[in-house]
């Protein structure tokens, strides 16, 4: 069974790498910086506004805080996968447009090595880039304009290995080593029909790669027989993201018979400073029936050396709140159903035209086990951006499912 899961798992990882390189978002805002960040967590966090710093579970992977892995039940291994579908409506002052998207949110495999040490590894998208926009530019020297259509694609992915170790009865430390990689591409098509018998195409491709290390800490504070508090802290070590930029400029005669490559620069190296992001969360748990958690994250993007022509990277403050209610079931059947909701508010990581790109998501979901599989279904409704001037407001509806396949680690060995 393990072999079966593992081999299918690797096969899935291989095929989805391909899928992730397609456009998985259609937001013009993904043109900025590294793209759209994925912000609603994994597993049950997705239904709770993305909270997770102070949460841990014996039979689910909490990938937000590596220290939580120390609490994994040492008899099981978990294979998790998340899928989601989104419908996003883009609106500016004159036009309204809606698009569908779907993708995998993560794949991971986790297990407890021994009673104190748990680990998990996997892949997940880190950012998404996808847009198809058209802008007007004016010719230098005269008031005439021409249109350029910009098509963006790509996105960074992350491959990670997380470890959590219990250092005392109620405290754990964790570390995640991840490798970020992926392209951010933009194809520009110049429409010069009014002024020339040529057209221009410019293709810019930035390939990013770099290591990131996150350190996590968790502590449980029992308050009595039925109540407990949890505290969690996560921070990443600042580092460097390497970037290789390639650029091609091609001039074509409209009839297609002449093609002239004006510029072909490959892999010009540069690097980006990746700042320290900090997160802190607290949770309150009553008899495992009621749980509430609050997270605060500070993304210090203003320190990244990334300059866009019109948007400024600013520090983003994320406030998340999540609730979980698990009614007690009487009787033999111990399969519990968890009801969850949450919200996630961000002050925005971009400043465009003096407007911060604020966003707000409201989530709700339910989790239930079926035999050895834990299903977490959730829906999230969010909005981002403002309608001032020519900016865009986005409303999106997401429906997702996380599945966690539990396998008894030593089951076969005992009964062979």
């Amino acid at each position: 069974m393990n072999k079966y899961i593992l081999s299918i798992g690797f096969l899935i990882i291989l095929t989805t790498q391909n899928i992730w390189s397609q456009n998985n978002t259609n937001s013009p805002y993904s043109k900025l910086g590294l793209g759209d960040f994925y912000s609603l967590g994994y597993g049950r966090s997705s239904a709770m506004g993305g909270v997770g710093y102070a949460l841990s579970s014996g039979n689910e992977l909490n990938l937000v805080n590596p220290a939580s892995l120390s609490n994994l039940d040492s008899l099981i291994s978990l294979f998790e996968i998340g899928l989601h579908g989104d419908y996003t409506q883009l609106k500016n002052s004159s036009v309204s447009d809606g698009r569908w998207n779907g993708n995998v949110s993560h794949i991971s495999y986790g297990m407890a090595v021994n009673g104190k040490w748990g680990m998990a590894f996997g892949v997940a998208p880190y950012t998404n880039v996808g847009y198809d926009i058209s802008v007007n530019q004016s010719i230098n020297g005269i008031p005439d304009e021409y249109a350029v259509s910009l098509e963006g694609s790509g996105g960074l992915s992350t491959v990670y290995w997380s470890n959590g170790y219990r250092i005392s009865k109620n405290a754990s430390l964790g570390i995640t080593a991840s490798f970020l990689f992926g392209p951010k591409n933009e194809d520009q098509y110049y429409d010069l029909e009014n002024i020339s018998s040529f057209s221009l195409i410019r293709q810019v491709s930035d390939k990013y790669s770099g290591f990131k290390f996150d350190i996590g800490y968790q502590q449980t504070i029992p308050l009595g027989k039925d109540h407990s508090l949890g505290i969690g802290l996560v921070a990443n070590i600042p580092g460097k993201l390497n970037r290789k930029t390639s650029e091609i400029v091609i001039q074509n005669s409209i009839s297609g018979s002449i093609t002239d490559t004006l510029l072909n620069e490959e892999d010009v190296k540069s690097s980006l400073y990746f700042p320290m992001n900090l997160g802190a969360g607290i949770s309150y748990n009553y008899k495992n029936q009621f749980m509430v958690a609050m997270d605060y994250t500070l993304n210090r993007w203003s320190e990244v050396g990334l300059s866009d022509n019109y948007a400024e990277l600013i520090d983003n403050h994320v406030f998340a709140l999540g609730l979980e209610y698990t009614p007690k079931k009487k009787g033999v059947d111990k399969s519990e159903i968890h009801y969850r909701m949450g919200c996630n508010y961000q002050t925005g990581y971009y400043l465009i035209d003096n407007n911060a790109l604020k966003s707000m998501d409201i989530t709700a979901g339910v989790g239930f086990p079926i035999r050895n599989t834990l299903f977490n279904i959730y829906t999230a409704y969010g909005w981002r951006g403002v309608l001032n001037n020519q900016l865009i407001k986005e409303n999106s509806l997401r429906v997702g499912i996380n599945m966690s396949f539990k396998d008894l680690w030593f089951h076969k060995k005992q009964f062979r």
Partner: protein
């Protein structure tokens, strides 16, 4: 276990198709707040264009099936007049006339083709002279704009007419009766001159139609041997000498037709008189005048062979504008001088561009960059506001060749109207150069930097 396997299978299959997105075909239009990068497409129109008037070597004016006659005078171009030469011979049958037929008239029939210049309400006059020399071509079979043949001092007949805007309304010029009667008598008598067409051509070498009126500017064109109405059996003859006679006992007269002996021998001769104008500076040693020598004006004149030559000196240094640049489009704007034209069609509607060398020899046509078609200049006429009338011609290929660091050429561009217009009309342009007005002769250049 089964459930898990089932879930895995379902998972695998859905994941292979799940990552999809709907994408509208149209790009999402966004304001420039999302990309206000400065454009890297530039426009400039400050490169100086040098222009010259060139007096071309003679060119042929035969073979256009056209009889062009007229006279023109203005302050810019002085005087020019056009005389046409036509040799005649028998038609397909020899002339046979009954001895007792009576002579009516000998008439030259001309069919206007609708092209004319001048006020159509004013009567013009041309004279028909008999040729004294036989028309014979140069070795290559053509006749040139300055080819002349001697003709009688006194005309056979002078005709007064009004140029008609409609084609095909024939004009009849009656020759003196004495001449016609003499011809008829000779035919009836079987005289030597009328034995064969060659004998006849020896006897009557042909006519020259000479403009007889130099008030104002005017011209008119007649069809050559055939008109454009029909061909084959239905073709009507448009240019002929008709000997009308009435047979005894016949009610109506009949005629014998003398046709042009060789339609390729019909041509126009142009004479110019540039005294009093700046163009008088042309001589056998100097065939090119820069615009500075001609009051900052440049001339193109049909018939006489004046063409416009341009060069743009800054082109060899154009790549200094930016280290990485590519020229996207180039258009040359030429403006005719305001009081040098009326709405009377003196301006040609288009012109061709040729490569030319330092000796002003005409080379290849200027083609577009892909080599698919030749570039031509087009007239943009504003009938209401004459100052908005201008010519434009795309010349990207010329700019790319001259700016290229790989190829080097001394050749420049020459503008001439189409051969037919150049050889059988008075169409002309008087253009202003940069010095008179910055926008009169202007190169509009678009380029991209990267």
């Amino acid at each position: 276990m089964k459930l898990v396997r089932f879930c895995m299978g379902l998972l695998l299959s859905t994941m292979l198709i799940i990552s999809c997105s709907t994408n509208d075909d149209e790009a999402y239009e966004i304001g420039d707040v999302f990309d206000n990068t400065s454009s890297n497409i530039f426009y400039t129109d400050t490169l100086t264009v040098n222009a010259h008037t060139v007096l071309l070597d003679s060119f042929y004016t035969s073979g256009y099936n056209k009889v062009f006659v007229g006279s023109k005078e203005d302050d810019y171009l002085g005087k020019i007049s056009a005389t046409s030469y036509i040799p005649f011979g028998f038609s397909t049958v020899d002339p046979i006339i009954d001895a007792d037929a009576s002579f009516d008239s000998l008439v030259l029939v001309l069919t206007p083709n609708g092209e004319y210049l001048g006020d159509t309400s004013v009567y013009r006059s041309f004279a028909v002279h008999e040729l004294l020399d036989t028309i014979s071509p140069f070795d290559n079979g053509y006749f040139y704009n300055n080819t002349k043949f001697a003709y009688s001092t006194d005309p056979l007949k002078t005709k007064s007419f009004r140029p008609h805007p409609l084609a095909h309304k024939k004009i009849y010029v009656s020759f003196p009766e004495l001449i016609g009667q003499a011809w008829m008598d000779s035919i009836i008598a079987g005289a030597e001159e009328f034995e064969t067409s060659a004998d006849f051509q020896e006897f009557f070498k042909g006519i020259a139609i000479v403009p007889n009126d130099d008030r104002d500017s005017w011209s008119t064109s007649f069809y050559g041997l055939t008109d454009d109405w029909a061909s084959g059996d239905d073709a009507t003859t448009s240019l002929e000498l008709r000997l009308y006679y009435t047979n005894e006992n016949a009610d109506e007269n009949t005629f014998y037709s003398f046709l042009p002996s060789n339609s390729a021998y019909i041509f126009s001769n142009f004479e110019t008189d540039y005294t009093g104008t700046r163009l008088a500076a042309f001589n056998s040693e100097n065939d090119q005048l820069s615009s500075a020598e001609t009051d900052h004006l440049i001339y193109l004149q049909s018939g006489s062979g004046l063409a416009v030559k341009i060069d743009i000196p800054a082109l060899d240094r154009i790549n200094e504008i930016s280290s990485n640049m590519s020229i996207l489009d180039a258009e040359l704007i030429l403006k005719p001088r305001l009081n040098s034209f009326d709405n009377d069609n003196t301006l040609p509607t288009s012109f061709n561009a040729y490569w030319t060398d330092k000796k002003n020899r005409i080379g290849d046509l200027l083609y577009n960059v892909t080599g698919e078609y030749a570039l031509t200049g087009t007239l943009h006429q504003d009938e209401e506001f004459k100052e908005n009338t201008y010519y434009s011609i795309p010349i990207l290929n010329y700019i790319l060749v001259k700016a290229s660091t790989d190829e080097f050429t001394d050749d420049d561009l020459m503008f001439i109207v189409s051969s037919e217009t150049f050889s059988t009309s008075f169409k002309h342009m008087v253009l202003e150069d940069n010095a008179i007005n910055g926008s009169s002769m202007q190169l509009k250049l678009y380029y991209v930097t990267y």
